[in-house]
Symmetry: C2
Subunit: 430 residues, 2 copies
């Protein structure tokens, strides 16, 4: 692992070593793709045990990262994300066991059809191949991302944020021990063993065809760079500008409960509502109670003229507010002309991530869910259900707003592709 550390000055040498890592991961992926479920689960459960057993080593490695981060005067939020305490180590190990316990996503028959000539054609799930994961300071992503890829039969090439270098390296070593214990190739989970940022660029070009898909896990600037530069497919979302539309035919109590949870259960998650749209026809009944509810819960409200008229605590919303993902206790509020107006607003300012409607009118809900072109459209429930765990996918590696293959929560099943398996009895084509 140290081999790449001294070579930061020599970019040709780095490139060569990265390409070699890619080739090794590709080779391992072929073995892993055919590994029986039990063998993959054995590796995950063994790694969980090893993580628990090496708790003290993990604290030590993490202390090195924390000291370096404090030396660079990084902010408290970043320091918190970087920290590995006993509870986080336990939960990281538990999450490996949870992933092991999920149903195996490879080899499932997704569809079967028979042709008039007697051919039977099955569509069967297969791994994607090699998945590159680029993440920032949270060291536990090393375990989570590696485990999700492994469960789906994919080799993983992980690039940890430079702040979590030592923690990620030790977590990775535990995963590799797990692989070894299960008789799987060590290269099933590869960690890029350098802090050199050139490694990210090399991954984005696919490491010479070694990487099939890239998953960025981190802030907007990381995702933006990955989406702009990647030459391989990307599973990601740039932002979640999530809307909740309260229709004139909504149930007020339900709307209040859903709004409060959608905005404030957690404000920093991508499924948190950022804009409340209220039906003009229901303004008298809904606008004041909903806005006051938010204000009383210490949520800043930025509204259009009608909303400002409701309460003097409301601040004016600017055009910029309609396309801002606050990820904070701030919401923008606007009156719209019915479900049509809501759909127009969502399609104009939204990010095609998650949007919700509250109404007792089924036809209105149908229209909204049909016409809003987002990965997740929710009727009469909190927008914060936008989550792989809540969808029953087990853990998720992220939420995708692309249209190719994975859209919405990306769990283990979404880390697979498929092939057609055709069963014949001597059929030839006319």
């Amino acid at each position: 692992m140290e081999s790449l550390q001294g070579v930061n000055g020599d970019s040709a040498e780095l490139e060569k070593q990265l390409l070699d890592l890619g080739r090794r991961a590709r080779r391992a992926s072929r073995v892993l793709a055919l590994a029986p479920p039990e063998q993959k689960n054995r590796a995950l459960n063994a790694a969980a045990k090893i993580l628990r057993a090496r708790k003290n080593d993990l604290h030590e490695a993490n202390a090195q990262d924390m000291a370096a981060a404090r030396g660079k005067a990084l902010g408290p939020a970043l320091l918190d994300r970087l920290l590995l305490d006993d509870k986080r180590i336990a939960s990281m190990a538990q999450s490996l066991e949870d992933i092991a316990a999920l149903p195996d996503p490879v080899g499932r028959v997704l569809e079967t059809f028979r042709r008039p000539n007697g051919l039977r054609i099955e569509r069967v799930s297969t791994p994607l191949g090699v998945i590159g994961v680029i993440f920032e300071s949270r060291p536990n992503v090393t375990a989570d991302a590696g485990a999700l890829c492994l469960k789906a039969g994919n080799a993983a090439i992980l690039r940890a944020g430079s702040e979590s270098f030592f923690s990620a390296r030790l977590i990775h070593a535990c995963l590799v021990e797990g692989l070894r214990a299960a008789g799987l190739p060590e290269d099933c989970i590869v960690l890029i063993p350098t802090r050199d940022r050139a490694a990210v660029g090399a991954m984005l070009t696919g490491l010479g065809g070694a990487i099939d898909v890239i998953v960025p896990r981190g802030g907007k600037s990381l995702v933006e760079r990955v989406q702009a530069e990647a030459r391989v497919p990307v599973f990601a979302h740039l932002e979640g500008i999530v809307h909740l539309y309260v229709d004139a035919e909504a149930d007020l109590a339900k709307a209040e409960k859903i709004l409060l949870n959608s905005k404030l259960r957690r404000t920093g998650v991508c499924g948190a509502t950022e804009t409340l749209l209220v039906d003009r026809a229901g303004a008298e009944k809904f606008l004041a109670p909903l806005v006051k509810l938010l204000l009383d819960a210490r949520c800043e409200v930025r509204g259009d003229a009608a909303t400002q008229a409701v309460d003097q605590r409301v601040k004016p919303a600017s055009e910029q507010d309609w396309s801002t993902e606050y990820l904070d206790a701030i919401i923008s509020v606007k009156l719209v002309d019915g479900v049509e107006g809501a759909i127009d607003h969502v399609e104009t300012y939204g990010s095609h991530h998650t949007d919700g409607i509250v109404t007792e009118n089924q036809a209105t809900a149908d229209k909204f869910q049909r016409e809003v072109d987002s990965a997740i459209v929710i009727h009469n429930a909190s927008t914060q259900f936008a989550d792989g765990g809540e969808f029953g996918f087990g853990a998720e590696i992220g939420i995708a707003t692309g249209r190719m293959h994975a859209r919405g929560p990306v769990g283990v099943a979404q880390l697979t592709s498929f092939k057609y398996v055709v069963h014949g009895d001597g059929q030839t084509r006319a």
Copy 2:
């Protein structure tokens, strides 16, 4: 349409006009995505009628293209592909009607699951958005590709080969008349109105975010360029190096019938077998009859030493032969060590398109179909079944060997994405 024809010298102006085309197609795609099936079908059936009615105009436009092509001394194969005769016009119109008759692929519920909290989550198919199709000399692709995209609710941006400029332009005009007759926006099907090759480059970068996926329809050099330069996802295959493995436990009569059809039914299609692998354990029984069968059918055979020993008409195979797609009456033949050897050969030299096995041993077939990582793996039937029509998909826009989203034959259903539609009753997240 003439507007872009005089601007070939001004690339900034061309770029601007292409971006405008992209924006118009994007806008039209939103209307089309929500159009009811009957409206889309009305447009397709109207266009079919119009194509038939304008037969003489089509002949005239095609004559212009043919004259220009003859002037450039293009080869007879290209001239044949370029020609639009009565039969081809009739079949082009028929194919629009066939596509109209397919089940609508949009809005299908692909999966439903219920969560313990009562949430009902549906995965529903949606259009992909805007599809860019780049094709070569066959003018009928204008109609086929435009119609497939339309049926799946996608706007299409078509770039016809420069040789078929006038034919494609008139076919496109008929499609637009069909759109108009059905009350759909004309920009649902856009034809790039210039022969300037810079237009292809602009499409490959996505026309400023207007294009969601590119489909190249043409020879290897076109696909190669598209795969290398495209900044948006591509549905394509570069080549079909298709293998047929005859196992020691195969039925000889079945193997003969399947081999002959796999290799020689049509030699120029991507599902045509290019390499025959014979199980060493069955060599005595199978090798001579199979090789002689091919030779007697005027197929050139290039073989390894064992194959050459069978018949003096066999030529020696070079290393290059194992990775050559002949698309001609030529086949390479090799002995391998059982199904393991066959899988190794396929994974080393194959192109992950289509591969077949002939055996009466179900366990051997299972192993081959599980371990060969190709989009289509066929047991006891001709490899030439690799085709959207034969799969029952109706028409196909191509066959994809990528792993993202569309793999194997790409018909109308494969031109859609999906979204999650969540039905609640006031659920909030804990």
